[in-house]
Symmetry: none
Subunit: 187 residues, 4 copies
DNA sequence: AATGAATGAGCCTTCATTCAT
DNA sequence: AATGAATGAAGGCTCATTCAT
């Protein structure tokens, strides 16, 4: 087994990177990440060959964490209910894990994240894409590329989460209205 | 009077910054920016006190450039036609000015851009926000905050522009479908 | 008359330099000095060819100011009374003009002050040196170089002023004791 | 264990800093210090977090070096002999180690040296302060604060060393006269 | 494998002085 | 003479990565 001896350290590094990226952006130094993880700075590079590798691994870990939440208990049969579930859980994930959300936002726009990583991540989300494509099949976006539709949904979730996070007063109403708008745009 | 500040140089610096931010992200060095602008490195700081000031000025300049295009010839009377115009011109701006679009995307997510800058920029876009709010007045988003609705529209434009830029084959069809989806979500 | 047109500006620059040197040391920038003086930065160099010239002029101005105070009303006839007057007035000058004292202390140890300036300044103080030499004529320091004796007195004043400034509680007692010690060491 | 910190390098940096500070004042650049020490510029900061830390460490090292010399073989029993020993050794230290003396003089007046450093250094010199306080117990300075008396002695040594260094002709006579003056002022 | 010191290019900014206006 | 923009060489410090131990 080629797995590195100490998986805990790897995780500690990913968590430290997530926090520091959320706080300070991608400029967070490897030395600071290692220190926050309680790991010697040189050891970071036995777990991740380069800083870029660490960032890509973090991106994938965050996407996976998010996708797991969203896909768990995704209703089948009723597409509107399923979309509503996806919408709600996705937004909640962002609200409950602000550092994860912020780090993911930073990483998503970064040019450090490779196409491979992006493609891998979007494969995690396969079932959700299938869902929105199916919903769109008779709407304005029928025939549009799945990645485009997926991108629109992701963007709508992102804007909604940011907004609720900044103005939590009417969280419920915003989330409801946003969902209805999304549903109308797709179906 | 002594030598007056040279506006051409200021513009050259903004343009150089725009290009390098588009190419390399916000990590673009002030030395490189100055060199690309054909200006001595120290002189950058006679035009912008700090790198952050330069970035904020660039953000505002890009937003203003974009807004001018979008607002020029905005139809009045027919809201759907107006939204269509906004949609088309905005996307075209992004396609025709890829460096500007990329730089603006980087800046928009950066924590270097102050709230003041963001607010100032959103004032530029006042009329477009009024438009989308008016359109939304009877739809799912009726009553939602203007900034939220504006954010959704901006995000949809962004995703569409990115997608078309990466897959120009069906530009027309994508733009049309995206517009219809947007219209349905708002109205 | 070759005197520069505006003597007020020259003085404003000297005062600004004094304050900033007292606050920040010799690293005070010419631009800051000019700004504090309410003078355009380039104009500083029409009054003083170099920063070093400004510093030397400041040194001389401070020494002159100090010497004027000390020599005014210096008693004649009774050497001990004269030394006591010198001691008291000199210390008071330092206490009442803390910025001047601090600036002068910085300048005195600086390698920016030329030998010419130092010699000129010590000529101002001629009468006081004569006094301490006369007092020393029969003491342990009889025959010692005047500049050495002067240096000892100046150092004692400096230490005493610093100490009282930092611990004003027993100003009187310290000044008295210091004077007696000085008197004993010389006479 | 990884490579241990190399004490020789640390010393080389301190020595280089001492020389350059003696020659050029506190403006000596970290790059020049590192170069003179034969160390890469970045490595300076693995030994001293900031330039200020380096300067404080240098101050302490010089004070310690001086104190060691002065305290070695300090006579006990005869206070006048002890003071004479202190006086002579202290002056000799300054004459034989001109760069150290000059660097220490620069550092002593600098605002870069923290109160902690100053206090630590004055603890090194505890026994000498006890000596001068004991000597003063029945003189003009009886009851004066130890730090004030110590300051007076230090200033007298400094002036004397400077003077002899600049005029070595009558070194012996000056030192003798200065000592007698000091003894009279204290006892 | 683990450690943490070592590296040196690069970063943003400052500054005394000059000079076009 | 007066102004203040222009200059470019430093300055102190950071950092991803390497490598001696």
């Amino acid at each position: 087994m080629a797995r590195p001896l100490n998986e805990d350290r790897r995780n500690a590094l990913l968590i430290a990177a997530m926090e520091l990226v959320a706080e300070n952006g991608l400029g967070a130094s490897t030395a600071d990440i290692a220190k926050r993880a309680g790991v010697p700075n040189g050891s970071l590079f036995t777990y991740f060959e380069t800083k870029s590798d660490l960032l890509n691994a973090l991106y994938l870990a965050l996407k996976q964490h998010l996708t797991e939440q969203v896909l768990r208990d995704l209703p089948t049969g009723d597409d509107k209910a399923a979309l509503r579930h996806l919408w709600t859980v996705w937004i909640d994930w962002g609200l409950q894990h602000a550092p994860r959300r912020k780090a993911l936002a930073q990483l998503s726009v970064s040019d450090q994240i490779s196409d491979v990583s992006r493609r891998t991540a979007s494969e995690f989300a396969g079932p959700t894409v299938e869902l929105v494509v199916r919903i769109s099949a008779t709407g304005a976006l029928r025939g549009a590329p799945a990645r485009y539709i997926g991108g629109l949904v992701e963007a709508a979730v992102g804007v909604t989460t940011e907004f609720i996070s900044a103005h939590p007063e009417n969280a419920e109403a915003i989330a409801d209205a946003g969902f209805e708008a999304l549903w109308k745009s797709l179906s």
